[in-house]
């Protein structure tokens, strides 16, 4: 069995018939820097046609553009970011972000960090972590370009977040994952089930650390762009069982309820509060909101 047959057979058993997809290019307007209507007018005057993404507040699909939307003066001025539509979901599901203390634990290249700061209207504090100088430089460039003011970046592994000796109202865990076939045409050639298992183990370590640093009444948003249940539903089932966390319902008019039965294994019913997105107009994605089940003993 080829890797492609192996994985597409798994998707079939999980309820999705594999087909090749073309992900639509999307942008997100940085509302801290410009009014939506002003930017749309400016871009349209340059021949860029936009379509509002119905399930996002500040997201637009690029319908037509004569040139790269990643090289316009408006992009370089930080008036918008190029951010795939599904990738705009995680930061938008926190209940309230303004004036909060937020941890973005796996922040580079910074699309969601900038989005979070924008939703906070640059109030409060974002602590953004990542490793490797190259990734940190990319993150810093995004912050400078988009005029973010409320963020501190540390070169720190998400699995060491408790070294900061801080507690957070909101923790964004857009964890390193195996990715998916929609954004990587060579995905089937590059990935094996061993990669998936290795990533799932790393993700559990990051979840464990997040559970240590979130406030008692705080929220964790966990997301991946992986279609593999080991990195999605099975990890959340494990977190419910082992980290004293519970899921919170995500209201979103896109995607499906996450799976509560994976290859015959029954999972916690509350996992259907999470959202699973199979590739289509967007890439594949998984988003889950978690809260502490019980307050910690002091």
């Amino acid at each position: 069995m080829s890797p492609k047959e192996f994985f597409t057979d798994r998707y079939q058993r999980l309820g999705w018939a594999y087909s090749s997809v073309e992900v639509r290019q999307a942008i997100r307007i940085n509302r801290s820097n410009i009014e939506q209507s002003s930017l749309i007018k400016r871009l349209e005057s340059k021949g860029i046609k936009l379509e509002r993404i119905p399930f996002l507040e500040n997201g637009y699909w690029i319908v037509k553009s004569k040139f790269s939307v990643g090289a316009t003066p408006e992009y370089l001025l930080g008036l918008y970011s190029i951010q795939e539509a599904a990738a705009q979901i995680p930061a938008s599901v926190f209940r309230e972000l303004k004036h909060r203390t937020v941890l973005d634990a796996c922040a580079a290249p910074g699309g969601k960090t900038v989005q979070t700061a924008d939703l906070m209207q640059n109030t409060g504090t974002v602590i953004a972590l990542d490793v490797e100088n190259r990734r940190l430089a990319a993150l810093s460039n995004q912050l400078e370009r988009c005029r973010v003011k409320n963020t501190v970046v540390y070169a720190l592994d998400a699995r060491r977040a408790s070294q900061l000796k801080m507690r957070f109202d909101c923790v964004l865990l857009d964890v390193p994952c195996s990715g998916n076939l929609a954004t990587d045409k060579r995905w089937f050639l590059r990935r094996t089930i061993k990669d998936v298992q290795r990533n799932a183990a790393l993700q559990r370590e990051i979840l464990t650390e997040a559970a240590k640093v979130v406030q008692d009444d705080g929220e964790i948003v966990y997301s991946t762009c992986s279609l593999e249940p080991e990195e999605d539903e099975l990890n959340i089932d494990w977190a419910i069982e082992n980290l004293d966390l519970q899921t919170e319902k995500i209201s979103l008019s896109y995607g499906e309820r996450a799976l509560t039965n994976v290859f015959g294994k029954e999972l916690d019913d509350s996992i259907e509060n999470c959202v699973r997105i199979w590739p289509g107009q967007t890439q594949g994605f998984f988003v889950c909101k978690l809260k502490r089940r019980h307050s910690r003993r002091s």
């Binding site: 370089l76 602590i127 370009r145």
Partner: protein, 150 residues
């Protein structure tokens, strides 16, 4: 940094207690950020610029902050905006408005028609003079965000 700002015919007041430095790079913090900042940070708040070999290199954030007050400013048309962010010098016919110094050798901020800061230039020939060819040399432009990633 103050010397650089003065060269643009501008003044800027920063609370020094809110300025943080790491690896010769300078950042302006809010009170909230100052409370949580630890010494080993990589980036924080508003990046102001860096010092390399005794020369100060401003950030685009700092240029934007200077733009908000009185300073040497040149506003360019849309075509020149595009050429400038591609790294090109500015020709006289692309200049729509000049504020502050027009003197050869002075630094000036370059703005687009929306009064947004595109970067920094050096006046090559007095801006009153009618001349062919480049009038303002491109010193720094926002196209740098793309060049850095290459």
């Amino acid at each position: 940094m103050n010397e650089f700002v003065t060269r643009l015919g501008a003044t800027i007041r920063l609370d020094n207690s809110l300025v943080a430095e790491t690896r010769n790079r300078y950042f302006l913090l809010s009170e909230d950020l100052k409370k949580v900042l630890s010494e080993d940070f990589f980036y924080a708040g508003i990046y102001l610029g860096k010092v390399k070999g005794n020369i100060f290199f401003p950030s685009f954030n700092l240029l934007r902050m200077i733009t908000e007050g009185e300073a040497n400013k040149v506003t360019v048309d849309e075509k020149t905006e595009w050429l400038f962010i591609c790294g090109r010098d500015i020709f006289k016919q692309g200049i729509m408005k000049v504020s502050g110094s027009k003197k050869k050798g002075d630094l000036t901020l370059i703005l687009n028609m929306h009064d947004e800061s595109l970067g920094l230039g050096k006046i090559l020939h007095a801006l009153e003079e009618e001349r062919k060819g480049a009038t303002i040399k491109n010193i720094l432009d926002i196209g740098d965000f793309l060049r850095r990633e290459r």
